[in-house]
Amino acid sequence: MRVAPTRRDAVVGAALAVLHLAFLASTLDVGFSRDESFYFNAAEQYAGWYDLLLKEPGKALSKEAVDQFFAYNGEHPALPKMLYGASWRLFGRMHDPVAEPFSRAWYFQGNPPDTLLGWFSESTAMRLPALLLASFLVFAVYLFGVEFLGRRAALFAALGWMFQPHAFWHSHFACFDVPVTAMWFLSAWAFLKSVPPPGAPRTRSHVRWALATGVMLGLALNTKHNAFFFPPLAFLWWAWTRRREWSLRLEGAGLRLRIPPVPLAFFAMLLVTPAVYYLLWPKLWHDPVGHLKWYLSFHAKHEYYWVYYFGTLYTKPPFPLPFPFVMSAMTIPGTTVLLFAAGSLRLLREWVVRAASRFAASASGLASRLPVREPGMVLFVFLNFLIPFAVIAHPKVPHFGGTKHWLHGVPFACLMAGVGFEVLLDGLKALADRLGRAFSTKGVRVAGGALALLLFVAPAAYDTLTHTADGSSYYNAFAGGRAAMGELGMQREFWGNSSYSALGWVNEELPPNSRVHFHDTTWDAVRMYWRDGLLRRDVIPVWDLGSADELLFHWHKEFTDIEAEARDDWRVDLPAFVSAPDGVPLLDAWRRETPRGKTP
């Protein structure tokens, strides 16, 4: 049943969140991915709107101002980019265009704003809201776990979420995936709290949580479109768990439909959510229908991306259905995967026993020994895990190749892994009891529990903290480690961030004014490398082999023609630099041996 988290729980959750923030903040050496670089650009452009808002608020709300400042990247809601832009404007250390005239070229319209607080580098300032949100999610996962699954499960769930190389890596980015994971989780939590358990009366607290659901879902939708799948999930869950309260009866001359009490959160989703959605997305202010129509159609007809999966390059539907499940099994630390499997089996067994107890008296005894759980809660957690995975699993949906598109289901998988941790502790307790009194003292039990936690968390923490710079290339040891990318033919990096690993070589080894083909790294990312002082400013970025002196080839199966062209045209057989964590090449730097325009 529900257990209201105590102040001590809040302190533990906050401590975990602070620890997570400390880990994130101490591992900021993460290259800029393609999508992040576009959002850097968008955030910079949107930030200009704040200046206008302060100077001429009326004008800032006009269609002209919205079209001027929010024209770029309209295919995603503005909220995260507005937050990144605000944080950048407030905390970023900008370049002074008077002292460094060359730096003008690195900024939108050649116009760097003045430094205000100047606490962080520009990229870190952009990333700050995402880092804070990712840390808050740890707090939320812990408290959700305490409330619905117990403290032991909650502790592992929070740690299991913290220590996932892919999620941890994505948590650094000024992108949408971890923020929407947080928003989805908070929406789900608020929704569950807004629904009174069957038979219980509705209280003021439920009303407050229903309103919170409306607001949270509005924020989630304003973060990324994945959130559109939450209301159907919530409806499905409610309809199924209250299925016995539905009835259709013939009464007098007509039919009478009896439905269970409708959660207030649904009304909030209909009334509050659209208002929040509208208010926080300036592109909707003057053309809500037109822009929404364009936005939805953009995502409904999204182009397909390459997916390299078990040696096959998928370029169009049908994409492999098990992709998200298999990728997660391979890219979540093995010990967490083990506990997820154990937790899933226990929850399945509980469901079977409870279902059987309705029909067979012999099962009632078994059912009475099961942990007391709030009716429907396990299904709710399961659906929140399953639906994000299932949406991407559909063979006609773009699979993209990475793991971030179903990340919002993973905290719920961690809660199920938390139940697996309970399985482990229960079994160890039974073993201790069997071994005799000396093993069943409280001290031994606590020490055993701590060791068990260490055994399952330490490998995940090790995996995470040794893959901070290139988390998207992590595969767990059960899959063969990073070598799985080569051995099994899997995606190696996701996307474009691997240039970061070559910047040291570029800065130290290349002659002045070298023309570097940055391949999958974007112009916006290169601008930010310059702004953050990570790239020599004389380096000339080009995206054309004919005019390049070096190629930073990001290893993607779909792009090997580019690498081959460099090898052929430049008559070199081997790269001059290779970034290959654990021996698997993620980036090959090729260098022209004869001057441009001369045949080797």
């Binding site: 399985v423 079994g427 039974a430 063969g480 690498e563 062209e565 057989d573 021996g583 090449p585």
Partner: protein, 293 residues
Amino acid sequence: MNGTRIRIAAALLLVAGAIAYVAMTVAQKAGVPGDEDWAQAAAAVRAGWQEGDLVVFSPAWAHAGAPVLRGLAADVAEQWDWYQASKHRRVWVVASRPHREPEPPEGWQAVSRTEAGRMTVHLWTPPADRTLAWEGMETLHDASVFRGDGTSRQPCTTWQDGRWSCGAAHPWQNVAPVSRDIAGRQRRVIWAHARDNGDPLEIRWTGVPEGRTLTVHVGLTQRAIEQDTGAPVVFEVRLGDRVAVRRTIDIHESGWFRHDIDIAGKGPQDVTIRVVARRNQDRQLCFTADVWR
């Protein structure tokens, strides 16, 4: 088994799984070669290097330390191509885990094996019972290229930047040596994009030296098989006027198809490659042709 035993068994299984996971992590990390291992491997290769040798890696994708071998002929594709490698006098296999002890392919001889820290260096020689007499790729300049145009047949006379074109140079309607991803790896091939409306493209070599076998490989590029466009391509190898091979390649058909044609005792030959497709969009056909004595 009663409930308590099941609970204990489940917990022990989980603990065993976690310990196995830790052990696998440690073993995997321990097997990764470092700079010193690569330096030792490179020194071993350079000490015995001869003109005409080739370096390959084992596993094929594991070229992390490749820069220390710069200047040597090497293959960094993610899969081996032993046929292509057999054109070299000897092959150095620079090996690390998980394939630190590779086995030579059938017909190859292992000459030596050297320990290099966490790596090993193997020297292999290709089958000794045959020698390469002729390569279409190397003699493309000597070939004659024709294209059908309705009922007429037009010679392509423009040789520019190592490509044959008909009339002005064209970005893809040409015949040229290129590297393309075909059947799982980059291959150095002759590009012969099909023409439209069933008009043929022909590449002819006259007086190809005598040998025992003419080996032809053919396939569509990865980019071609990804597309739903175009029509199946008919590929023919003609010896004089005789059709020695005819193969139809479907639009999604992936493969690097090998044909060994017996030419023993037949003297120098005229070899013609003919490519025909009813619709040519994205029909990026590529081939190689070699004569072995």
